[in-house]
Amino acid sequence: MRIILSGIIVVLTLLLLPQVAHAMHITEGILPPKWAIFWVVMIMPFVVVGTLKLKKNKKEVPGFLPLVGLVGAAVFVFSCFPIPVVGLNGMATAHPAGTGMSAMLLGPFVSVVIAGIALFIQALFLAHGGLTTLGVNIFSMGVLGSFSGYFAFRIVQRMGLRLFWCGFAAGVVSDLFTYMGTSIGLGLLVFEGGESLPIAIMHSAKAMLEIFVVFIATSQGPLCVAEGIVVGFAISYVYKVRPGILQSLKVVKV
């Protein structure tokens, strides 16, 4: 118990160290207007449903709002916390997503809203991401990260593994899918032009795969495991200290 608490305190302390982060977010100006609009349209339904679910759960689930505050701030800090990794040209920094944890605790739709708010603040004030690329960043970190993490958690839970491993799976899978989303966003940039549809699709798919392999081979391979461990410990801690929260949120069965 003390070890878990100490671990969480160390992680939070490290998270709160002020650092300048540059990582997976697609930067301002990269997307042409048509793709920027496309991604905003793609994420809109998730944001609307997420907002409605947030309102509903706030009334129905006791302790939901402090948990949203806690997890929301954690996602914000997680997603701008640079971790040293091996990059393309030597040492670089990358950051975890945190949406696996929020999706597991609050549900995937609410997690999309939380990711959206975090990314909006980062784009506005921290020169991290961008306003025109907000749609694709919410899609990758919010939609893909949250839903993949949530389903990974549920699948591993059904397999009957311990709660730590359920959280671990959520953390690892959500991180990988977040970077897959970034690869999709970047890969679609080669989709334009006068090529025929099958060739354009093939070129895009090739670009996406190449970018994703570079991500995994360099930064996100070890980083996703680290995120999985943190999420695993976090969910285990919540279960030990306040199992009632997880029960009322239907994360674990009574």
């Binding site: 806690l70 920094t93 970047l186």
Partner: protein, 111 residues
């Protein structure tokens, strides 16, 4: 009202005095070449949005541009990160205490 006015005037004087000292200090260091001692941009520890995302975007003909509100100027970005890190830390700490310290032992409800 007068009290606030005096405080305002005193603050203004203080700021102006600081500006005077700063100008004077600036005059004394004029002509000395400033040198960047930390290599960060395009060097070691560059974020992967520059080393991977930025490079691919440039390769595909869509190079990144400066943010609309560009806080990436000198130490301003460090300041903004510190402020938001602090705010995030306070929110995490407050809700953590509320949920896991004050609410410890309550197993049947969330609060």
């Amino acid at each position: 009202m007068l009290k606030y006015f005096i405080v305002f005037v005193l603050t203004l004087c203080l700021i102006q005095a600081h500006a005077l000292y700063a100008t004077e200090a600036n005059n004394t260091i004029n002509g000395i070449e400033d040198k960047e001692t930390i290599e960060s941009e395009n060097g070691k520890w560059t974020g992967i949005d520059v080393s991977i995302v930025g490079k691919y975007a440039e390769k595909y003909g869509h190079p990144p541009k400066d943010p609309y509100i560009n806080t990436d100027q000198g130490d301003l970005l460090l300041f903004v990160f510190t402020v938001f890190g602090l705010i995030g830390g306070i929110i995490i700490g407050y809700n953590f205490r509320k949920l896991f310290i004050e609410g410890k032992g309550k197993s049947n409800s969330g609060t």
